[in-house]
C-alpha cells in the first residue's frame, strides 16, 4: 500500500480528533482550512468519513467503512 494516502488520513484525523498541530506537505496545505470543524464536535464524523472510506478501500477492507 502506498504510505502517502494513509499518512494524509492520519494527519487529517489527528487534526480533527486529537486537535494536534498538523504539518501537511505543501501540496496538502489546503486541508488546514477544515481544521475549524473541530469546533463542531457533532460534525467531526462528517468531515472524517470520506477519509475513513478512502483509507478503508485502500486497505481492501471487506466491511463497510465507519468513523468508529
Amino acid at each position: 500500500m502506498n504510505p502517502e494516502p494513509h499518512k494524509l488520513y492520519q494527519q487529517f484525523h489527528d487534526m480533527l480528533v486529537n486537535a494536534s498541530e498538523t504539518n501537511f506537505d505543501t501540496d496538502s496545505q489546503k486541508l488546514v482550512m477544515l481544521a475549524g470543524v473541530k469546533e463542531f464536535p457533532m460534525r467531526v464524523k462528517s468531515a472524517t468519513l470520506p477519509w475513513h472510506t478512502i483509507n478503508h478501500s485502500l486497505e481492501g477492507a471487506e466491511q463497510p467503512a465507519t468513523t468508529e
Partner: protein, 417 residues
C-alpha cells in the same frame, strides 16, 4: 391545578406566555441567543408540574410497587396505579387492564410483534405497514417475519406524503393478519385517515395497531371511538419523562397473548416445574417498572388535560401555517411533506446546503431543529432525499420562533446560497 381551557381564547399571546413560563428549560440562551426549541417531534420539553411530580415522588414516596406492606410502598403503588387510570381516561380505554406501561412506543410495538405476532403468525401470513413508518414500526415486524416466515407488505405513498388508500385496499387480503400504521408521521407530519384504515381492516377481521408517538401530543385520542386494537405511545413526546410509554390493547386480545418478558411482578406462582402468570396488566410488566416515569406521565396528562385540545390545535395550526407561508417563497427551499392533514411539522431541504449544515448553523442562532433521516430511511429513499431538516412545533412555540428559524436560514443562505 387551574384550568387553562380558556387561556388560548382570552388572549393568545398572554396564554402562550403563561404556557412558556411553565417550561423552565425554555428560559435560557444557546450560543448567546434565546433558545428556540423546534425539535418537539424528537421530544417535548417538560413543564414544572411534571418535574415537580417526579421530584416529589423521589423526595417523599419512593418505594417499590405491588410488593411492600409498608406505608411508602402503598403510596408508591397508589400513585403508579393512579397514573394508569389517568392514561385510561385520557385515551378513553374501557379498562385499566388495557393500559400496559412500557419503556416507550418502540417497546410497545415490540411487545405486540413478539407476543401477538410470534404466537399467531406462520409462513404465508402478511403484515401491512406503510412507506412512512418510523424504523420502530418496521424493524420489530421484520424480526417477527424472520422468526415466523410471515411477509411484510408496504402501503405506498404519494409525492405529497399521503397514503395510497386504493393500494391499501388491494393489499388487504385473506392472508393479512395485522395492519401496523403510524397515526401521524414524524418525518412529514401527515395525519393518516386511521378511521377508514381501521374500518377496512376490520371488515376483514384484521386487527390494527396504531403508532401514536407523534399524534398523542397534538390531537385527542379516543381508542374506543377509533376502535383500534392496539395503540402505542411514549410519554416524552407529550411533556412527560423519557423511558416510560404505553401500550393500549383491547382486553380480549391482551388476555389471549403470551407474556413478552418473564420475571417478578408478572407472575402469580412460580415453581421449577411451571409458573402461573399474573392477570392483566401485570402479565406484561415484568420487573420493577419506571414508577417515577409513570407518575410523571400522569402529571403530564393532568397538564395537557387542563388545556383545550381545540385551542392547542388552533394555535399549532396557526404556527404551522405561518411556517409554510415563510417557507413557500424562501429561495431554494422545498417542503417535504405536503399532506392536507398535518400535525405541526415542517420538513424541508435547501438546494444549496446539506441538512446537517443547516442544523449546525441554525443551532448557532439558538434554534434547535432535527436533521437527518428521522429514523425513516425507506421514506427518505421514496422521496429521493438523503435527509431533511425538520422544525416541529409544540404548544409553547410562537410565530416569533418561526421568524428565528428563518433568520437562521438566512445565515445558511449567506454561506451556501
Amino acid at each position: 391545578m387551574s384550568s387553562r381551557a380558556d387561556t388560548f381564547n382570552t388572549s393568545e399571546t398572554s396564554a402562550i406566555e403563561q404556557i412558556r413560563a411553565d417550561f423552565p428549560v425554555l428560559k435560557q440562551t444557546v450560543h448567546g441567543k434565546p433558545l428556540v426549541y423546534l425539535d418537539n417531534a424528537a421530544t417535548t420539553q417538560k413543564p414544572q408540574q411534571v418535574i415537580d411530580a417526579v421530584k416529589n415522588y423521589y423526595t417523599h414516596d419512593n418505594a417499590n410497587v405491588h410488593r411492600g406492606l409498608h406505608t411508602l410502598s402503598e403510596r408508591a403503588t397508589d400513585q403508579y396505579e393512579q397514573a394508569r387510570n389517568k392514561v385510561r381516561d385520557y385515551i378513553n380505554a374501557a379498562s385499566s387492564n388495557e393500559i400496559i406501561f412500557t419503556r416507550g412506543t418502540t417497546e410497545s410495538i415490540n411487545l405486540v410483534a413478539q407476543s401477538f405476532g410470534r404466537s399467531r403468525l406462520k409462513p404465508g401470513d402478511e403484515i401491512i405497514i406503510s412507506t412512512m413508518e418510523h424504523h420502530s414500526n418496521i424493524v420489530p415486524w421484520q424480526l417477527t417475519c424472520e422468526q415466523t416466515g410471515a411477509t411484510l407488505k408496504v402501503i405506498p405513498i404519494s409525492d405529497a406524503g399521503e397514503l395510497d388508500l386504493d393500494a391499501y385496499k388491494k393489499l388487504l387480503s385473506k392472508n393479512t393478519r395485522l395492519v401496523a400504521l403510524v397515526h401521524a408521521s414524524n418525518a412529514l407530519g401527515t395525519v393518516n385517515p386511521v378511521t377508514d384504515i381501521i374500518e377496512l381492516a376490520h371488515a376483514q377481521d384484521v386487527p390494527v395497531l396504531l403508532d401514536g408517538a407523534q399524534a398523542i401530543a397534538h390531537m385527542p385520542v379516543d381508542v374506543q371511538a377509533l376502535d383500534c386494537d392496539f395503540y402505542a405511545f411514549s410519554a416524552h413526546k407529550a411533556f412527560g419523562p423519557t423511558g416510560i410509554g404505553v401500550l393500549y390493547g383491547k382486553e380480549k386480545l391482551l388476555d389471549a397473548m403470551p407474556p413478552y418478558q418473564g420475571g417478578g411482578e408478572m407472575i402469580r406462582t412460580v415453581s421449577f416445574e411451571r409458573s402461573e402468570y399474573g392477570q392483566l396488566p401485570n402479565k406484561f410488566e415484568a420487573g420493577t417498572p419506571h414508577i417515577a416515569g409513570a407518575i410523571g406521565l400522569g402529571a403530564a396528562i393532568d397538564y395537557i388535560s387542563a388545556l383545550d385540545f381545540s385551542a392547542i390545535h388552533q394555535h399549532e395550526s396557526s404556527v404551522l401555517e405561518y411556517a409554510h407561508q415563510r417557507a413557500a417563497d424562501y429561495p431554494g427551499l422545498k417542503i417535504i411533506g405536503q399532506a392536507k392533514n398535518k400535525i405541526s411539522v415542517l420538513s424541508f431541504v435547501l438546494d444549496y446546503a446539506h441538512p446537517h449544515d443547516i442544523g449546525t448553523i441554525v443551532d448557532h442562532e439558538g434554534v434547535a431543529i432535527r436533521v437527518g433521516h428521522h429514523c425513516a430511511m425507506p421514506l427518505m429513499d421514496r422521496l429521493c432525499v438523503p435527509a431533511t431538516a425538520r422544525a416541529s412545533f409544540s404548544i409553547y412555540n410562537t410565530h416569533a420562533d418561526v421568524d428565528a428559524l428563518f433568520t437562521g436560514l438566512d445565515s445558511v443562505r449567506s454561506l451556501f446560497g
